[in-house]
């Protein structure tokens, strides 16, 4: 698991405007102008956010099409949630075995 990629993903997500942009892109691709509309920020500001998201691999920008629409690329998001899920699942599985172990030593002869 490339930790650096995950760090980049989480850094990109640590901004409410960028999260809102991703939420908008989850509905379909959009141009910079369309993305700027709901926010009270300038086009250059939106462009900077898009650059961060693109660098993190969270969006792709179509450079061939007019107005270079952005589209969501959800794979890094999935990797990020998968990683946390793995950490949690490891502990869950471990604690299941602890539970079974505690039952066993209480059921068996008292030599635990």
């Amino acid at each position: 698991m490339p930790t650096d990629q995950l760090s980049v993903t989480f850094a990109a997500l640590a901004d409410p405007t960028r999260r809102a942009i991703l939420a908008r892109l989850a509905e379909g691709e959009a141009t910079v102008t369309e993305l700027a509309e709901p926010f009270s920020v300038t086009l250059p500001a939106i462009s900077r956010h898009l650059k961060v998201l693109e660098h993190a691999g969270l969006i792709v920008r179509n450079r061939a099409a007019q107005f270079r629409p952005s589209a969501l690329r959800p794979e890094p998001l999935a990797d990020a949630t998968d990683w946390m899920e793995t950490c949690r699942a490891t502990w869950e599985a471990r604690i299941d075995r602890l539970d079974a172990h505690l039952k066993e030593i209480q059921r068996g002869p008292k030599n635990a």
């Binding site: 760090s7 991703l22 989850a26 509905e27 969501l72 869950e92 172990h101």
Partner: protein, 156 residues
């Protein structure tokens, strides 16, 4: 069926709140007796070689073991230091960063054991994972949105 609640899979901490039908002295011993730790500390599919378990039961002592899965070709040594120890209610372990396992920062594992009429409520927190020095804020909100984003994002 034991009750188990992952309180915030979301943020960078793993939190597990679980009730065991056993007195907490027993649960505490299961956490601190090398023979017993070797039996349960590996998740399903993982083994803890008994001779790899070293537990120096004192503050500042080592809490070390190897986790092996021949199936997955996984063999890793966990090296914790005991930071806090209050028998039979508290155990706090610190693990040094392990970048090769995707753990860039030191993690703390806190095990609280609460007596509840002869049963034991264990509250375990472990983390942080994925902490980033310059992005400490906004984690939980970010994660709140993640699940929704991933589901809507992948379907479209």
């Amino acid at each position: 069926m034991p009750d188990s609640t992952p309180l915030q899979t979301a943020a960078q901490q793993v939190v597990i709140d679980r009730i065991f039908d056993a007195p907490r002295e027993l649960v505490f011993r299961a956490w601190t007796d090398p023979d017993q730790v070797a039996k349960w500390f590996g998740p399903e599919g993982f083994d803890i070689p008994r001779d790899s378990v070293v537990i120096e039961l004192r503050v500042g002592g080592r809490f070390e073991l190897r986790m092996v899965s021949s199936q997955m070709g996984f063999d890793s040594r966990l090296e914790y230091e005991i930071l806090e120890l209050v028998e039979p209610e508290l155990l706090v372990l610190r693990h040094a960063p392990k970048p090769e396992l995707g753990i860039p920062d030191a993690t703390l594992t806190r095990v609280e054991l609460h007596d509840e009429n002869g049963k034991t409520r264990m509250v375990l927190t472990d983390g942080p994972y994925l902490e980033s020095g310059h992005a400490a804020t906004g984690w939980s909100q970010a994660f709140e949105k993640l699940a929704g984003l991933v589901s809507t994002g992948t379907s479209g």
